[in-house]
């Protein structure tokens, strides 16, 4: 049986209004996603489709066309909002509300607006079938969660990053030295800094745990000519040079 009333248009307008309100007052991802995503993918396109008066023969056809029309409305919105300098969350919410609110009365007022297509008859689902479907959903979601966890947990390369910069805070007369460990074990390291080849600072027995960073800003004299600062990292266990970095100390 075909749906001949135009309650869908009223519902679309209310949905669009709720989406504007959610964007304006709420930071909740859940609420904003539940209201906003259908606006981008379906609701606006549905009303545009109804306003144009395109007749659709099946629910599948209606949904597919509505997604297409929604995407078109969104793309047009990008250009319109760009021209208005309003590519902001509220700008987008108002755009989709505007499209829906403008299209719905057109669809409601025109006499030849086609009825919505009939919904397919609901399939009879037995208990075991419903349970199998839910289990499938659970397994697929769980597998995705596992993939996310595995991606975050696994590192192919274990490394210690070492750096020396003119000044992280932008102040002249300072250099910044830093170490970050992405190893699996804590690292014991010695650090030496030289300025134009002369020993300048030493840090002994720095212990850096996996995932930990260590950084220091060190004051250095500023001269009329640029000086070269070198930093060397040693591993006390084998007393071999492990990393070496350098930077130029800006002149006055």
């Amino acid at each position: 049986m075909r749906i001949c009333r135009k309650l869908d248009l009223l519902a679309a307008c209310l949905w669009a209004g709720a989406a504007v309100a959610a964007v304006a007052v709420s930071d909740s991802l859940l609420i904003r996603t539940a209201l906003g995503a259908p606006m981008v993918f379906l609701v606006s396109g549905h009303t545009v489709l109804r306003a144009i008066g395109v007749r659709t023969g099946s629910a599948l056809q209606h949904f597919v066309y509505a997604v297409g029309a929604s995407l078109a409305a969104g793309i047009a919105g990008g250009f319109a909002l760009n021209a208005a300098g309003s590519l902001t969350p509220l700008g987008w919410a108002l755009w989709f509300w505007g499209v829906t609110a403008a299209a719905a009365p057109v669809a409601a007022c025109r006499r030849d607006t086609p009825d919505l297509p009939a919904w397919p008859a609901p399939a009879r689902v037995r208990l075991w079938q419903g349970a199998a479907f839910m289990l499938a959903l659970l397994v697929a979601t769980g597998a995705y969660a596992l993939a996310v966890r595995d991606e975050a947990a696994y590192r192919e390369f274990k490394y210690t990053a070492f750096w020396l910069l003119p000044s992280a805070s932008g102040e002249s007369g300072r250099i910044t030295v830093g170490i970050r460990s992405a190893e699996t074990q804590p690292q014991l390291l010695d650090l030496e800094i030289t300025l134009d080849g002369q020993p300048f600072a030493i840090f002994r027995s720095l212990t850096i745990a996996p995932g930990e960073s260590w950084a220091r800003e060190i004051p250095v004299p500023v001269l009329a000519t640029p000086q070269k600062a070198d930093a060397r990292l040693y591993r006390p266990e084998d007393n071999r040079l492990y990393r070496s970095v350098s930077t130029l100390v800006p002149r006055i």
Binding site: I52, Q61, A76, P89, Q129, R155, E156, L165
Partner: protein, 655 residues
Amino acid sequence: MLMMPAHFTPGTRINPLQAGIRFVSAVIGPDLRGGSADTPPQRANSGWIAVLCLTVATALLLVVAGHAAGRRGYEVAPLLFWPGIVLLVAPTSLRIAWPTTARGERVFLLFLLAEALFYCKVVYSPTSFIGHDEFLHWIAADDLMTARRLFLSNPLLPIGPTYPALEIVSTAIVNLTGLPLFVAGTLLLAVLKGTFIGALFLFFESITGSPRIAAIGCLAYMGCSTFVLFESMFSYESLGIVLCVLIFAVEAASKDLVGRERLKALGLIALLLMSLSVTHHLAAFYAAIYLGAVAILEALRRDASMRSEARIAVGFTGTLAIALPILWMEARGNHLAGYLGPIVETGFKTLLGKITGAPNSDQLGAPPQPLAMRLTTLLAILLLALGLATGFFRSLAMAAPSDARTGWRPLQDVLGRRWRDSRLVFLSLLAFGFPISVAFRLTIGGWEIGNRMGTFVFIGVGLVVGVSVVHFWEGRTRRGWRRIAPAVALAVIVLGGVTSAALEPLRGRYRVAADQQSIESMGIETALWTKAWLGAGNRFTSDRINRLLLASYGRQDVRVKIVEGVAPSRVFENETLGPDEFWALVRSDIDFLLVDLRLSTAPPVLGFYFEPWQRRGTPLSGAELLKFNDIKGITRIYDNGWIVIYDVRGLHENL
């Protein structure tokens, strides 16, 4: 056994040549009486759907386990991943292609299969975009969200700003929902995948009148090398091809409409064509070819009963499809020739070189793939070729007037420009593009053309294979092997789509210059370090992979040229920095060079470290990469043992 005319029965004396001709004629001929296209309408079988959902979920679990094992380099990885893919594809494809499956069930299972294949793409990298093209659009979308302005330049994809629709829609989702860009983009792609399959099904159903042919056509389309990965990427083609097929579906569904109803459909088509024009150049080109060709065929068609209104509508649609992309390109400045021109030129040159046996036409061999994958792809191609051979004339015969469907008469009608539907004629002819696209894919230079062609050509291939399966292979009886073999063949074709989608669809350990196989956490963390400690917007240059990471995670201003005429490869290659390269660096505005010492561990998997046209078969040496250590004015500010960052700002002070 194939269906044979009665005169082949034992005891009849016939000339062997005639028998051969008749046999070939029976196999490839336009006979449509092999089977009625569809069974009477029936309800979807919830039991099958439930079982297949559970099977697919189990398959996805195996795929995820395969990726996890692959990351660690375990040998068991392929034994988890590939059975997972087979379990995902085979039962669902068999059920979709089964002759008695209900329309609703076919549609549901097509959605299930398409989304499950998309899931496989996403779990390769479940928390971030990883494909080369995905990075380019991610950078553009990030820029759009930051600056809240369109048409910002993108040095890694100069043509990108002209086609900003994907970034517009994805940032609209981000703005409305507050979701991170990756989640919003993935949600968009999932919706696009479903919409694509829905639109393709409706399109095939509109022109053939058969849900069974439509479903089989969709399955055959999944055998396209771009379906599983390329059209699932966060890239403008993924949106473009959906709009393109949607336009085809709306246009085909409106073919019998008259008066205002036709005008309304035209309104929707115009809206979609406008969107497509600003979405993707090639997809807009496909739409222009299809709608233009249909308009020309309609004009050529001899049919007294055809209304001039219908001809005008089709002609208008074709004109619009051609004019809108051209107008948009002119409005934005035509960068397309510069972007696509070299690809097309190289592709054709390489293919012609291959055909004529010219030396150096394709110096470096294609990157290797496991033998089983290559065999599956080959088998899928052979099955598709068989489907095309047995379906081509039948598809053309379907276009002939319905009163003339015996023997070769339908084809005489088609040759006499009497056909029912120009769409069927064009799509049947379009399928001829398949062997051409395969030929292009056999060369490195032409691979990209073949790949892109496949996206469009497979619409025709899907139709012809669908007609072939229903009207020839399954035949009238649909018992025994006639039930099983075509369905198994279709499952192999879909598997071929997976094996041809990427060099290695299974996640593995880091590989040198292999696009998504080269993206891993150390490179990402180094890019993030540049943002945290050097700030965003520094001018960097590096190899292709690290440029992507620096521009996306690091938000750095990456350069693909040192100065005009000097590519980064000239600076990084060679053991000493020549005077030209040194002075280029001095004159440039480059702040930092990032050197990845892993490049010295193996030759580039894809054949190049920097740009596709700078192919190289040997690895860079450590001396080449570390030559900057001893150059006055250059300091080595960062080192993690594998990745080194050089500060070259001191060079500019020497000017």
